[in-house]
Symmetry: C2
Subunit: 228 residues, 2 copies
DNA sequence: CCCCTTTGTCGTCGAACTGACGATAAACGC
DNA sequence: GCGTTTATCGTCAGTTCGACGACAAAGGGG
């Protein structure tokens, strides 16, 4: 082993949620150099005896104060350009997390503040390191995954209406979907959602049926984004 | 930087091709411990000043004796379970490569032999380290990508017939496709393939039109695998 | 209490695509 | 010429999709 180049390995998290009509990402403001004062993805070093998924879960719970079970977490990709971090050779394994909004008291742990920022209002290069590219890759992955998986429901609370789910799609994709066709598609795709049996009360308009996530892991056929 | 746990970082390659009716993977027989004598994915350590994609390309050319331009290379995922390598803490970034068969004189560089093995005839656990899982992930990724990208053509020579392309699909997916519907689909999807203008000669049966890869990067609509 | 607004849900229609399969075209060997 | 082989074109019914009409079920204001 000795004699081989030593690397530092980190995990970085692209944590996405839908809130207030925006697809938003959890960012922390760096309290120390490099990039002091800049926004960055939450993350940290991997322990020498720690598995990569464990490190991602640990950072996620540390940064959001949430237990895992809610939401979705998957590996996004690994970034390791030689001088991406001025402190030395750091390779980072990026993860994508999708969470419902109910989340996120966002405790600033190590003297750094954290907040949700709408992804559309971030300019490339505004983030520390190569986090702008990582974020862009994560957002694109999320947009694509809504097409062929039921993951949109992970942005919703445990029980939700078809309209709430549609709102997730419209917010993430930034396009308008026909409510009637969307309703047909969602309720007609086996395993996408399951009816709870109850309805909303006290909202505007006609009460809506409540649903829970279904058991399907893939959407057949997929829900395609409207033509550009 | 100092004070953070030191890791070794490697790249490992899942190099796939279609030959003799089998989806096959390029494997090397290890000449040194650990797992001496076992089959393993080709790969090696990343240089301290080397970018990750560069390391993958370097290993690919070293291992196949081919220049890059032919074929497709993409990052597959990163594997870093604490004791996946008995020599120490090694994190590996796995890459997926798809190549035409015309390739691969397969020079055994460092006292290790290399060969193409059909992926179906490998039992899980037969490979060194966690390479069985990495290979399984790579094969599944390749199978999925044939659905919604024109990447099947990277398994073919620069000019190919519709039947050759269909053979790739049938071999990778292990299922039978209707020649007439396949022909309609391939020639009817914009950007999938482009006619060269010439035809095959001297083969059995009616000569077939020759095609080249099209400019499309995504298939709309996708070519779906037959229902299981 | 009736109308109007809001929102959810069901139906209808034509276009596009798919799967199954018949039919024809163009080469070869005998 | 004739059968064999493979490529390519057509047909037809079933499924799905986008656009949109219609109705259902709540609340609010007069």
């Amino acid at each position: 082993m000795t004699g081989y180049p030593p690397f530092a390995v980190t995990v970085d998290l692209v944590v996405l949620t839908v809130r207030a009509g925006d697809l938003s990402v959890l960012l922390v403001r760096r309290g120390i150099p490099p990039y002091e004062g800049c926004w960055a993805l939450p993350g940290g070093f991997v322990g020498i005896d720690e598995d990569l998924p464990d490190a991602a879960v640990r950072e996620l719970t540390e940064e959001t104060g949430l237990a895992e079970p809610a939401g979705h977490l998957e590996q996004l990709g690994t970034y390791g350009k030689p001088h991406r971090d001025p402190r030395g050779r750091v390779v980072t394994v990026a993860w994508l997390a999708l969470l419902p909004d109910l989340a996120a008291p966002v405790a600033g742990t190590d003297a750094a503040s954290a907040d949700w920022l709408p992804v559309d209002r971030l300019t490339p290069g505004q983030l520390a390191f190569d986090h702008g590219r990582i974020l862009a890759d994560g957002v694109e992955r999320a947009r694509a995954k809504l097409e062929y998986t039921p993951l949109a429901a992970t942005f919703c609370p445990p029980e939700f209406t078809v309209a709430q789910l549609r709102d997730v799609y419209e917010t993430v994709w930034g396009s308008h979907l026909d409510p009637r066709n969307f309703h047909r598609k969602v309720t007609g795709t086996p395993g996408f959602v399951e009816p709870v049996g109850r309805s909303t009360e006290g909202e505007r308009g006609r009460p809506a049926q409540l649903f829970r996530r279904g058991s399907a892991t893939l959407l057949h056929p997929p829900m395609l984004r409207p033509a550009r």
